[in-house]
Subunit: 306 residues, 3 copies
């Protein structure tokens, strides 16, 4: 198992042992996240965000700084040479001269894979199209492990937009390597994509549902997601489903005492604010675990941790 110089394009590239290795190195990162370190002193990360994502970008940049490295980059497609017609491959082939690794977010599916084929420095996919977002899946997995003490033998529900939300695709793949029961809860229009279902069916028990309230009492992990208006070809369809999968404090009366509520954030209104100070809420803690997981990956890939 060697992470040195490796690309992180898809969660599917990892074996279960590798996922566990990333998580155990994440544990080691917790003290460094407070005190800082010099593990990656002199290393430069390029964050190339062709699509906005404050949390993800800032999380990577903080991880790099906590490890003693630094960063360059852009988060502003409209003001880069991209707008003058430069293509993605040219951009990453230029940037590979200026950095030790690239964090790439791009609106097109397959962008990170394509980039990784052309450059000699490692690429981490921070989201490409509606497809995959592997570091989000890793941090989700790590949050479950840290907060529940284990992943195996849990009943987990992914709720909301399972068709267009890339977060849930990567997470479903990751969970299929463990011994979990998975509920996929969405309106018919937003059902989980067939190719994801084919990949995970048979490995784990999967149940597709439309009614969130009915299954609440069975769940150990409630993973809510945002219904992204911009993914809908027709706005009328959005209005139909908007708000139909909303979790409030009242709903939590029906869950187990140890059940946790997660969300990749940002939320719109799918979790009401009165949930925030219940002992079930974990979505802000998730952001902290995201820092640890990204520190873990940077350390493993750039050779700081063997």
């Amino acid at each position: 198992m060697n992470f040195d110089g490796r690309d992180i394009v898809s969660i599917k590239d990892f074996s279960k042992a590798e996922l566990e290795r990333i998580m155990s190195v994440s544990d080691l990162m917790e003290p460094l996240s407070r005190e800082g370190s010099d593990i990656l002193k002199g290393k430069i990360m390029a964050t190339l965000f062709f699509e906005p994502s404050t949390r993800t970008r800032i999380s990577f940049e903080s991880a790099m700084l906590r490890l003693g490295g630094n960063y360059i980059g852009f988060a502003e497609p409209k003001l880069t040479s991209v707008e003058k017609g430069e293509n993605l491959v040219d951009t990453v082939r230029v940037v590979e001269n200026y950095a030790n690794l690239i964090i790439l977010r791009h609106p097109l599916e397959g962008a990170a894979r394509l980039a990784s084929e052309y450059v000699n420095i490692p690429i981490i996919n921070a989201g490409s199209g509606a497809e995959e977002h592997p570091t989000q899946a890793l941090l989700d997995l790590y949050t479950i492990k840290r907060e529940m003490g284990k992943i195996d033998r849990l009943t987990i529900a992914l709720i909301g937009d399972l068709r267009y939300g890339r977060t849930v695709h990567s997470l479903a793949y990751a969970l299929s390597l463990f011994d979990v029961k998975l509920y996929l809860i969405s309106p018919d229009l937003l059902k989980m994509r067939k190719e994801v279902l084919e990949e995970i069916n048979g490995k784990i028990e999967v149940f597709q549902e439309t009614d969130l309230k009915k299954v609440l009492p069975k769940l150990d992990v409630i993973y809510m997601t945002r219904i992204q208006k911009e993914r809908f070809p027709d706005l009328k369809d959005y209005e139909l489903v908007k708000g139909s999968y909303r979790l409030s404090r009242d709903d939590l009366k029906f869950v187990k005492r140890k059940t946790i509520v997660m969300h990749p954030l940002p939320r719109v209104d799918e979790i009401t604010f009165d949930v925030d100070d219940t002992h079930h809420a974990r979505y802000f803690k998730q952001a902290f675990y995201g820092l640890l997981v990204r520190m873990s990956l940077l350390s493993l890939i750039l050779g700081g941790i063997k």
Copy 2:
């Protein structure tokens, strides 16, 4: 008097002794602003600017670097998750996992106070709504002290948009803790807000005027401000007052030899360029004092200086 971990939301939160402490630590920062230091090595500042302000953001970032720390952040509301509907509290609760302190600028009044109630790391208000901008007031105060040798017994005029300009609100509060005479000079439409007047009246002598030229000979400190078009509900009102409070080199014939001219910048045309190379001009030096004051605050809050 303890600054460790403290929020800086309003200038009104400070006692006179605390203001003087911040200013005396600012003196200590001057050599470090040239040579650099490692006082805040390993610390991360997040600059969250939901509203543009190049000078303020860059000044904080430079201060942090001069102290050996580093920064993450955004200055681009349209490209962040904010545009997807994430609320301010969610944003700062995520970011507190990635940084040791947050510098927040936001268009809504009360934003910094609200944020400080939800997060466990210190927040510095870098401007919220038309309300307050405490670090600007601190640097203005410090500029007066450094350039005049004292604050007490001076006659100071705040000129221009006293209704919508947040800079002058914070500065008026700060000055009310000292023994000054304060002239508030504005068109009727842009008079100082009643709540500010109520706070400072009685503490210091306050004179409201509409005619700048008349009072010029009395002044030790001339504090000009920009009339911000974007604050006017009706553009016709803006056209009426635009340019009516403009200071030129000719006007300076009527001031004392030691009188200084200040401006929070950016200016439009309220100080003509021929003032820049007179010995009265201090608005660029103000920017340097801003660096020292911000270094002082960061050192005090993040524990570098006890």
Copy 3:
């Protein structure tokens, strides 16, 4: 020959000996570009980009980090105080308080010269108007020297938009200090500016051509440039010349074995992708040499290298 604290405004400010000094220090930078260094520890660079240029900005920022310094800045004119009406001189006079040097890119000709007259810290021109881009010329020169082993006695062609492209103006000046044959190949509408021709004619042999294919076999260096749509007052003129100077793999059958192809990037379609993996292509390597040249300049100007 003293670079300490010097402004880099125009390539014309350099003697041939100075250009050679910059290139020989660039050689020294190659190991530091991999291992990093502390040469500029504690120094701050401000990148003020009033016009987009990802590659140039990132290249400078990487150079500064590799030397142990750090950076502040903006790349977003619309969100800075510029949009509130602040003028360039005010901006740089404020920023000089926060940094040890300024990298300036601005849409107006003469902007860097103007700025350098007002501030006491060094300014490096990273492009001003359609006029000059001296660090691009330096890296182009350095690329030729590194890849051909020499500059003298080469036959070099600048191809494409020679009227509006600032890159080729600076490069033509630089080459005129060496013993080269220079082909200027463009449509009539986009011929090299008269003032550049006057400067270089007599110093070196210059040939103006419209037909690229005809001269290909004579060339040692093929320097392609993009035809920038935004420089054309009339879009019809753009459509006429667009694509008329395109280099493909087939064209390379007619060049010498050692001929190199350069491009300042970004390209649109003036070099087809099938050229990228020929042994003639050097445009990505150029980006790496740009890093070395910028490290060299930063070291020389900020006193790290005597």
